[in-house]
């Protein structure tokens, strides 16, 4: 089992590529890998309830750890209380933690 850090910086309302990236995260988790999806910049927008939130909820159910960058949330006025169930705010330090750990890291 490998460990992955997937960083999503893009907004699913702006580009459909995000759905492919979510699929990658789900597929890796389904194959038994440990996967963190770190949402940053406009990538945090679907972390609050919206028409695009279902995909993130499905990832949480699939065992993907979904984190949203605290700074990006603050920039966009999204309070932690408005996040989807299963999505947690996190500091950017999590990225360094997981790079230290040797996770395979991908940025989209």
């Amino acid at each position: 089992m490998a460990k992955y850090l997937l960083i999503e910086s893009r907004d699913p309302f702006e580009t459909n590529d995000v759905a492919y990236y979510y699929d990658l995260a789900a597929g890796l988790a389904k194959d038994g890998n440990e996967v963190t999806l770190f949402l940053v910049q406009n990538g945090v927008l679907p972390a609050r309830k919206s028409t695009r939130s279902g995909a993130l909820t499905a990832l949480v159910s699939a065992g993907v750890k979904v984190l949203a960058d605290e700074f990006s949330l603050r920039e966009r006025g999204i309070a932690a209380a408005r996040l989807l169930s299963g999505v947690s705010p996190a500091k950017i330090d999590v990225v360094v933690d997981q790079l230290e750990e040797g996770r395979k890291a991908l940025w989209h």
């Binding site: 990225v95 230290e100 940025w107």
Partner: protein
């Protein structure tokens, strides 16, 4: 404090064009403050991140003079991260792709920034515990 690591970060975005640069800088900053050695390799427009002639400016539209505007320049952030790395017992190595520099005429850089080739990127990644590539669109 975790064991000291060596991490490579690859940047492609030019300054003032993408939030990716800001996020990448935040990650680099967090890593160097832990005392890690961070090797940054810039190519394409990112080679201008450390261009020494970046200059702050006033903002006449908002009625702010130079001091009040306090316009940020990434060259200063890079220098500050280099200092933070040294203070934490690590190092921030910042290398620009030489061909990309020459294409853009941004060879004048802040102290500590070096130039190299994709071979140096490969060697840096080989010598690192992990590598993060920050691609552009």
């Amino acid at each position: 404090m975790a064991d000291k690591k060596t991490l490579s970060v690859v940047l492609m975005d030019a300054p003032y064009e993408s939030a990716r640069s800001t996020t990448a800088f935040r990650i680099i900053d967090a890593a160097v403050r832990r005392g890690h050695t961070v090797k940054v390799f810039c190519y394409e427009g990112a080679v201008a991140q450390a261009f020494v002639k970046q200059a702050p400016h006033a903002n006449a539209v908002h009625g702010r003079d130079l001091a009040a505007e306090d316009h940020p320049n990434p060259k200063d952030w890079i220098a500050a991260m280099m200092a933070a790395a040294e203070a934490a017992g690590g190092k921030l190595e910042w290398m620009n792709c030489g061909l990309c520099v020459d294409e853009r005429g941004v060879g004048e850089v802040i102290p500590g920034v070096t130039r190299g080739s994709p071979v140096d990127l490969w060697k840096g990644a080989e010598a690192s515990d992990n590598t993060l590539v920050v691609p552009t669109k």
